[in-house]
């Protein structure tokens, strides 16, 4: 069954410091997909995520995210997309609940939504009142993901989500990402870890030279 595309990029060019970081990228992502972007350093994976997050305007081409134009409606795109890069965007002096409540409040989330987000990431109970600075790297990652849920992010853009986590932390992360997808989130994941992230993804796409070179595995949902 074909669904409306969450991301639709057609021949997109994006320039970073006068350098064409994306040179005619074309990609379509449908609701519920987990698309893994692979490729060498400097291929354009992070730039693609930043473009989809509304942080970088396309210099040429058509770029639509959640049905919104990335040139005309960047601010609206930003409020509905969650980007998790190398940092978690957390306040380390605040507790897990306080962080999730803060991020949830930016979209008017209720206390129930905040509690549900904390619980979905397995952070409920006494742990929820622990300051973030006392948490492990894996717990911090889960807290950041709980913030994305509380923010009602419809598209999750994850840049090297497994970086800095030990084996147990990676397993934990995979579990919560699968659960989030089952609950309806759409994800684009940039990672070098093809084996681990590939097991998570519904589709793998190779990025090289600022372009989408091809599908390594899977096919676009709705494609015959």
């Amino acid at each position: 069954m074909e669904t409306d595309p969450v991301v639709q990029l057609v021949d997109v060019v994006a320039v970073l410091d006068r350098f064409p970081a994306l040179a005619g990228a074309t990609l379509t992502v449908h609701r519920g997909e987990i698309v893994l972007l692979t490729g060498p350093n400097g291929a354009g994976k992070t730039t693609l995520l930043r473009l989809c997050a509304g942080l970088l305007p396309p210099a040429r081409g058509t770029a639509m995210v959640l049905g919104l134009d990335l040139v005309e409606q960047r601010e609206a795109v930003r409020s509905r997309v969650g980007l998790l890069g190398h940092s978690n965007g957390l306040y380390t002096d605040l507790t897990i609940t306080e962080n999730v409540a803060f991020w949830g409040a930016t979209v008017g989330a209720s206390a129930e939504e905040v509690s549900a987000a904390v619980e979905r990431m397995g952070l409920a109970g006494r742990l929820s009142d622990v300051p973030v600075r006392k948490l492990s790297a894996g717990q911090r990652r889960r807290t950041a993901l709980a913030c994305l849920i509380a923010r009602r992010a419809e598209l999750w853009l994850l840049d090297e989500p497994h970086a800095g986590l030990d084996a147990a932390g990676r397993d934990e992360l995979d579990t919560v990402l699968r659960a989030a997808t089952a609950a309806g989130a759409t994800m684009i994941v940039a990672s070098h870890e093809m084996e681990r992230a590939g097991a998570l993804a519904t589709r793998m796409v190779e990025v090289a030279g600022g372009q989408i070179r091809g599908q390594i595995r899977g096919q676009e949902s709705g494609t015959p």
Partner: protein, 229 residues
């Protein structure tokens, strides 16, 4: 979410972080107190100290403010929270006014304690006639300092050598606040040759300064932090 709602949210968050981390109490206040004591040692003349006390209080406030501003943005930059706020499409004006409000509240607490220290250390006297002028000038100066501190804190966040860059950029810009707040305080305390009427004129300058930076910051803060994101 409206900018006003974001302002309240960000200010409450910053003040909660301060209450939790106690940087103002454990680091800034001792620093300010030591500065006041050193001024007393350096001048070592009771009459002179009484006369220059307003200026010394505001100088100590400005130096201490640098630590508070740096802390305010270290909290945001530490785990990429400021970037995340902008990525999330949270209105920059709300972030700007929220951080400025939290900064102004912290500065007001600091100023209250510094004035108390001035009365103890410098034997400053206060007959109560200028209390309204003193409170108004402290409020206006704190708002101005909060707004300009937030703007320059945002400007230097993410830059190399921001610890030394912030004072270099900020201190010259806050000179009007130092002058205006000192003159208004002199009038309120009845030291120097400033009348109460002149004191209110200096308060008008402080209010104008705060308004200008409020308008300028609300326009410039978003592009500034976007560029560093």
């Amino acid at each position: 979410m409206t900018s006003f709602a974001v302002t309240k949210l960000v200010a409450a968050k910053d003040l909660r972080i301060e209450l939790r981390s106690r940087v103002l109490i454990n680091q800034v206040l001792p620093f300010a107190a030591i500065t006041m004591v050193l001024f007393a040692f350096a001048l070592d003349q009771d009459d002179l100290l009484v006369r220059v006390a307003p200026g010394l209080v505001w100088l100590a406030t400005l130096f201490s403010m640098l630590v508070v501003v740096q802390r305010s943005f270290a909290v945001e930059a530490g785990d990429g929270a400021l970037d995340a706020l902008r990525v999330a499409g949270v209105p920059a004006q709300g972030i700007y006014f929220g951080k400025a409000a939290a900064l102004a509240v912290q500065l007001l607490v600091l100023e209250t304690l510094l004035f108390a220290a001035a009365f103890v250390l410098y034997s400053s006297r206060f007959d109560g006639a200028g209390v309204f002028l003193l409170i108004t000038s402290a409020l206006a100066a704190s708002c101005g300092l909060g707004l300009v501190g937030t703007l320059y804190g945002g400007l230097t966040t993410g830059t190399k050598g921001r610890e030394s860059l912030l004072p270099l950029l900020l201190l010259p810009v806050v000179a009007p606040v130092l002058i205006g707040a000192t003159r208004a305080t002199e009038a309120a305390l009845g030291v120097g040759r400033i009348s109460m009427q002149e004191g209110w004129a200096w308060v008008a300058l402080l209010v104008t300064y705060a308004l200008l930076f409020g308008i300028g910051g609300s326009i410039g803060f978003g592009p500034l932090v976007d560029d560093t994101a």
